[in-house]
């Protein structure tokens, strides 16, 4: 490919395939192709544009996983700790967990009633924040008192038994009309009892 003489207007830039002296192996032709041919289809940014993913130094191609530093993927996600730190903390945490105690089981209470009793105690001791012993003392009174029994569950209506017996039988592969006839003959409640669905 002949060099351009100064001041001479050329029909196509050097390396362009339309030039009469086009040589596909010439550096100018290779560079022209690199800049102008997009084998994967239309580009979002021109070649060498800072926004193009194949521009040197562009980091758009890096996948950012949640919590992971893509330049330090060996570090722990979300904390950025090194593996040595992670291992140290794991060992410490394991030791602490062995020493930790399970949460105490508490007697369920009525918050309004207990708060009223706690208020009485606060007035008595002239302090807002009670000690653990003072809490225990107040709560002990509630735990010793018999609780109101829960209301007895109402028996489900007959229609409910019918529906459940029908569902039970159809799930076992019965045809609906056969199941209905069987339920009418035997009684839904009896069938449910026999199947152990109700007691």
């Amino acid at each position: 490919m002949s060099p351009s003489a100064p001041g001479i207007e050329e029909d196509f830039p050097r390396g362009h395939p339309a030039r009469g002296d086009y040589d596909p192996t010439a550096p100018e032709a290779i560079e022209w192709a690199r800049r102008n041919i997009a084998p994967l289809g239309e580009r979002d940014f021109p070649v060498d544009h800072p926004g193009a993913v194949d521009t040197a130094g562009n980091v758009n191609r890096i996948t950012y996983q949640p919590g992971v530093d893509p330049f330090n993927p060996h570090r722990e996600a979300h904390t950025g700790r090194t593996p040595a730190q992670v291992e140290g903390i794991r060992r410490l945490s394991e030791t602490a967990s062995r020493a930790a105690v399970e949460s105490p089981v508490l007697q369920p209470v009525d918050a309004a009633a207990v708060n009223a009793a706690l208020d009485q105690k606060r007035i008595e001791v002239r302090r807002d924040v009670l000690t653990a012993d003072e809490y225990r003392e107040v709560l002990a009174g509630f735990q010793e008192a018999p609780r109101e029994p829960a209301p007895a569950p109402a028996p489900p209506p007959e229609a409910d038994y019918d529906t459940r017996a029908l569902a039970m039988l159809t799930q076992k592969g019965w045809r609906e009309d056969t199941a209905r006839a069987y339920i009418a003959r035997e009684g839904a409640e009896k069938l449910l009892r026999l199947a152990g669905v109700i007691r």
């Binding site: 967990s97 062995r98 930790a100 949460s103 009525d110 708060n115 606060r122 009670l130 569950p153």
Partner: protein, 294 residues
């Protein structure tokens, strides 16, 4: 009206591919508490924390069927709800007093897998917590404040490591009601629980999932929104030393930094709390007006 929320946790040891009934956390049970049958009880959400992928199955003859019931895939190391996600509108499964729910997990053959069920009682006999709905929160809410606690969980699959809400930072105003909007954890576990007399001594809670902070930090508000009712727990700072945060996790145990998002409420706006009778009545100079941007 005895309203209550309870997170019931349980664990299965080395379940492998076999559906294994969960052992309920100490002091808890998968039998629904005795309630007024006319006031519904709801299975609001369920989640599991498996180190290996598995299935969480919840069955009862009182629910749809006892064959497969509610069965969902549990992805590994992701304690997100697989049932009743309160993000947006949702649908809760009605459950019945004294019904013994069969809760089972599959998972790894050499690990402890853990699950949590969130149960909401509209009227629990003899037990009552303090809860508000969203309109009340908007009406009487004053300031957001967070509390941060460090919980060292036990490695047995039970809830453990309970610490008071003021154990790390004691910044709550005396004799003041606070609504718990939700919370966040920095480490994955099964459930974060908050227990206190203001919740009827039952454990309210949310999934211990650090990568779903948008969900958990607003958990109770979303519950109140999705299930349309008073499901935002309220406690009084006078009970702060006895209002505790704990965590349930798998056999690895772990140390958890938990942030609870609270909203300071106007004094005496939520019934059933401490009245501030002893020393600092009225919440230590709290403002008397409230509201949200319009």
């Amino acid at each position: 009206m005895g309203r209550a929320i309870e997170v019931v946790g349980g664990f299965a040891t080395n379940p492998g591919a076999t559906f294994t009934a969960l052992t309920a956390s100490t002091g808890q049970s998968f039998t629904v508490r005795g309630t007024d049958q006319n006031a519904p009880t709801w299975l609001m959400a369920a989640w599991a924390f498996n180190a290996t992928v598995g299935e969480l199955r919840i069955r009862s003859p009182r629910l749809h069927d006892f064959f497969s019931g509610i069965r969902n895939r549990v992805t590994a190391n992701f304690a997100m709800p697989v049932l009743g996600n309160p993000e947006g509108d949702s649908y809760a499964q009605r459950i019945y007093a004294q019904d013994n729910l069969t809760v089972e997990l599959t998972g790894g053959a050499a690990e402890l897998d853990v699950a949590g069920l969130l149960i909401g009682y509209e009227n629990l006999g003899g037990i009552a917590g303090r809860f508000i709905d969203i309109p009340t929160l908007l009406k009487v809410g004053l300031n957001i404040v967070t509390v941060e606690v460090t919980v060292t969980a036990v490695a047995t699959g039970n809830f453990g490591g309970a610490v008071a809400v003021n154990s790390s930072i004691d910044n709550l105003i005396a004799n003041t009601d606070y609504a718990i909007l939700g919370g966040m954890t920095d480490t994955r576990g099964a459930s974060v629980g908050v227990t206190g007399v203001d919740f009827g001594n039952l454990r309210v809670g949310f999934p211990c999932e650090p990568s779903a902070r948008n969900l958990t930090q607003n958990w109770f508000v979303k519950l109140a929104d999705a299930f349309t009712g008073a499901w935002i727990p309220v406690f009084n700072s006078a009970n702060k030393t006895q209002t505790t945060v704990d965590v349930e996790t798998n056999g690895a145990g772990g140390t958890y930094i938990v942030n609870l998002t609270l909203v300071q409420l106007m004094p005496n706006a939520v019934p059933g709390g401490a009245t501030g009778a002893a020393v600092q009545a009225g919440g230590g100079g709290a403002p008397t007006s409230a509201g949200q941007p319009h």
